[in-house]
């Protein structure tokens, strides 16, 4: 094998390695994704007249394990857990299931955090800065498996319902909620 060829392989390996490290990249300078979307955030494409299709805002933090884990810390620090527990809900709705009252897209969750929602959800505008809000958005979406499992942050021990629940061998899927037999229409 020529040394030039070997160097090329080493270079390619280094390039691959550094590319894979984006997952843990801590970018302190870039603007947060879709800095305060100026358009009205829609919860549904349905409306009077012709249907308007809008594209979803891409949240750069969703592919970044550091940002997601920061979102998890902020989720605790801003006491999201006070109402939403660790995703299972309480006074507020569950976040780890597949039910989304105001939409599951990143900009919809962002709007929920920043504008608040009726019957309990306060507006956090002016209290959480944009990049922190988007980190929380990334974490909230990771709770129900809407983001890649590769960047998911670990849950705390008391959340494990059974051993190995966190292992990638048995990744969680959002369970389809079904009505209990007692609640079904006869």
């Amino acid at each position: 094998m020529s040394s030039r060829f070997r160097n090329a392989i080493v270079l390619a390996a280094v390039a691959l390695g550094t590319a894979a490290c984006d997952r843990e990249d801590r970018d302190f300078r870039s603007a947060p994704p879709g800095n305060s979307p100026t358009d009205v955030v829609r919860q549904s494409p349905l409306q009077p007249g012709p249907m308007v299709m809008t594209s979803h805002v891409k949240n750069e933090y969703e592919g970044n394990a550091y940002a997601v884990s920061q979102g998890q810390r902020l989720f605790t620090w801003f006491n999201c857990a006070g109402c939403h527990a660790n995703g299972g809900g309480g006074m507020g709705p569950a976040l780890m299931d597949d039910q989304w009252i105001y939409g599951s897209a990143p900009e919809q969750i962002y709007a929920t955090i920043m504008e608040g929602r009726p019957n309990g959800m306060p507006s956090w505008a002016g209290r959480i800065n944009d990049s922190q809000a988007w980190q929380i958005v990334a974490y909230v979406r990771s709770l129900s498996g809407l983001t890649s499992p590769n960047v998911r942050s670990a849950r705390t021990d008391h959340m494990m319902m059974n051993p190995g629940a966190q292992s990638l061998a048995s990744p969680e899927r959002p369970v389809q909620s079904t009505l209990p037999p007692a609640a079904q229409q006869p």
């Binding site: 299972g88 809900g89 569950a94 959340m159 209990p180 007692a182």
Partner: protein, 141 residues
């Protein structure tokens, strides 16, 4: 939050306040979140979170009658004399409250910290009852 020793989560107990000890106990599957009602005829009415409305003998705890309602009972049964002179017993079925939040709020049972931890003790409640809100009125014979 976990069930007590032996998997106990609820018990309906009649106390003798003079001798300070229970007279009889009825073990229930879930916490007995409803109130209790005793009529002058020594009949006790109470409801369970899995949707049974029960009448038991106040002296012995023997089950006299039970009726399955559409949703768990956490309300206070009441009794009254109707305009027709008959005695009635009324109760609201419709599960909720802290212990029933897993059903009323459609919480996720995978997070045992939900509803400040009560979800962890009530993960099977959705298999026994759904949401509801019905007033049931029974006429006493």
């Amino acid at each position: 939050m976990k069930a007590g020793p032996g998997g106990h989560r609820g018990e309906f107990t009649a106390w003798d306040p003079v001798s300070m000890r229970p007279v009889w106990k009825l073990k229930e599957r879930f916490p007995v979140w409803s109130g209790a009602l005793v009529t002058a005829g020594d009949v006790v009415f109470y409801g369970t979170m899995d949707g049974w409305f029960r009448a038991v003998d106040a002296r012995t705890g023997r089950l006299l009658w039970r009726y399955k309602v559409g949703s768990g009972i956490i309300s206070q049964p009441v009794t009254y004399r109707g305009p027709d002179g008959k005695q009635y017993v009324a109760v609201v079925s419709g599960v909720g409250g802290w212990s029933g939040a897993i059903v009323a709020g459609a919480l996720d049972p995978r997070d045992s910290t939900g509803a400040l931890g009560f979800v962890g003790a009530m993960t099977d409640l959705p298999q026994y009852t759904g949401k509801g809100g019905t007033v049931h009125v029974f006429a006493l014979p």
